[in-house]
Amino acid sequence: MPLTKKRIGIVCPYGWDTPGGVQSHVGDLAEYLIGQGHYVSVLAPAIDDASLPEYVTSAGRPISIPYNGAVARVLFGPIAFNRVKQWIGAGDFDLLHLHEPAIPSISLLACWAAEGPMVGTFHAAATRQRVAFAVTPILEPVIEKLSARIAVSEAARETLQIHLDTDAIVVPNGIYAKRFDHAVIDSRWTGNTIGFIGRFEEPRKGLEIIVAALPEIILTLPDVRVLVAGPGDADAFLKDVDPSLRSRFTFLGRISEEEKANFMASVGVYVAPNTGGESFGIILAEALAAGASVVASDIPAFDSLLAHGEFGTLFSSEDANDLARKIVSLLVDPAAHVEKAKKGRQYAQSFDWDVVAEKIYDVYEMAMVGRTGITLSSDIRAWNRFIGRRT
């Protein structure tokens, strides 16, 4: 794809050690770009420096702050700011790609400290934030420095338009769609099964809503089973579940990428009952790529990803009765939904890294037109030049 190799710096605001959508997106993107022959350096907060991939530089230990209804592991402050400046100064980058620059994090600091071609990606789709109007005057001059903005979904783009009065290009998060082409149907997981993947101990992942919907589903489908994949303490979870329902749950623990593809292709219906805090819903794109029948809560990110229900079924978020109805209708008559799943599979190809990374690189190229690389703003400030100070 590229005619010339570039030096690209990517800033990830969230702790690299904690699994999350933004982190894995940044990791995949960095690896893809490196595969294309570019030099890529990622700056991210990290607890354990030793376990970082070669291309990641640690900016220090993240701190946990409550943000946007969830706990965010981010980093800021004077020491972090110095690290950011050092990294920018030493990197000799042609372009910076900042993720989620509108939250208090190293992305925002990097945007403040650097001058030159910068691209920002906005992940969050917040429905309302009352404090937003108060911080806008601080954010605006900083966010304005970005040569181009990317939003990962229509919902994220709208959030940006409302809060910061600026437009963005929509480029979705990427998946490795080819992995899901070769998914094998596993008979252990077929039948009237409800599939769930995620850290089920977190309430916002919504496994409780499936539990609450179960009695109603059993009335029509007495043999229904729930298959849960993902890390967590299964016994602790089952303790709070009605004893008569416990036998219907199977916990698979953490599964590999290959198993994940097979799992999604095999289950009767794949359910994402998340109650919020989701930026994109990459797992749904993967489920679609595997050809699963998908049921998801109608939170903004999922609504946007499934195109208001065109490629999967949406239920009213946190409404167990509605969820039960939607699951039953899919499991009772699978043939009626084959067409939708087929369409979803086709649609999921547009999230493949080959397509997504190409688009992101197009945006990079547009930002880099006629401009020299990244410098520190402090180098060009008049008074610093005057007193001969260099940072």
């Binding site: 001059p141 304005e144 040569s147 600026t166 290009i169 945006v363 547009m366 037109v369 400030r381």
Partner: protein, 167 residues
């Protein structure tokens, strides 16, 4: 005494804020230049591809004439008439491709693929450019910046009324 100190402080703060605003505005003017250079380059390439298409087997003589005319007009248009000329070219390409048969020759397929590629990029470039122009207008409109003439001699960015969908 403290009155004067306060005055000095206020003047210093104002000075800093003016310098900050001037940098901010300068950066925005820069951004507009960059985004325009990028969009302009892509549009030029599109005009070149359009002329290629006019010469190829895709196009019948009448459409060729129309297309060549539109492409040259788009290339030669002044900055202010550019938007209209580009829309004209879009229209000419649209008419041709709508009635087009399937093209089996590799050369023609290549041309169409290139056009499609460019269209995607132009859409992005327009969105980037329109955003930087809007931003610049907004900041230029602030009263402090108008009062102290921080925009200096930088020309006002031209607002382009591109149609949302180029193709």
């Amino acid at each position: 005494m403290s009155k004067y100190l306060l005055l000095v402080f206020i003047v210093a703060l104002l000075g800093w804020y003016l310098s900050f605003s001037a940098t901010r505005l300068d950066r925005l003017h820069h951004r507009v230049e960059t985004s325009w250079a990028n969009l302009d380059g892509l549009l030029q390439r599109r005009a070149a591809v359009a002329i290629e298409i006019a010469r190829s087997e895709i196009s019948d003589p009448a459409s060729s004439m129309l297309l060549t005319f539109a492409a040259h007009q788009a290339r030669d248009a002044s900055v202010r008439n550019r938007s209209q000329a580009e829309t004209g070219l879009t229209g000419a390409l649209g008419i041709l491709l709508e009635n087009a048969q399937d093209f089996s020759t590799p050369n023609e397929q290549e041309l169409l693929r290139e056009l499609q590629d460019l269209t995607e990029k132009i859409k992005m470039a327009i969105s980037i450019h329109v955003d930087s122009v809007n931003r610049t207008y907004m900041v230029r409109g602030k009263w402090l910046i108008r009062t102290f003439r921080l925009a200096g001699t930088a020309p006002e960015p031209v607002v382009y009324e591109f149609e949302g969908d180029v193709l």
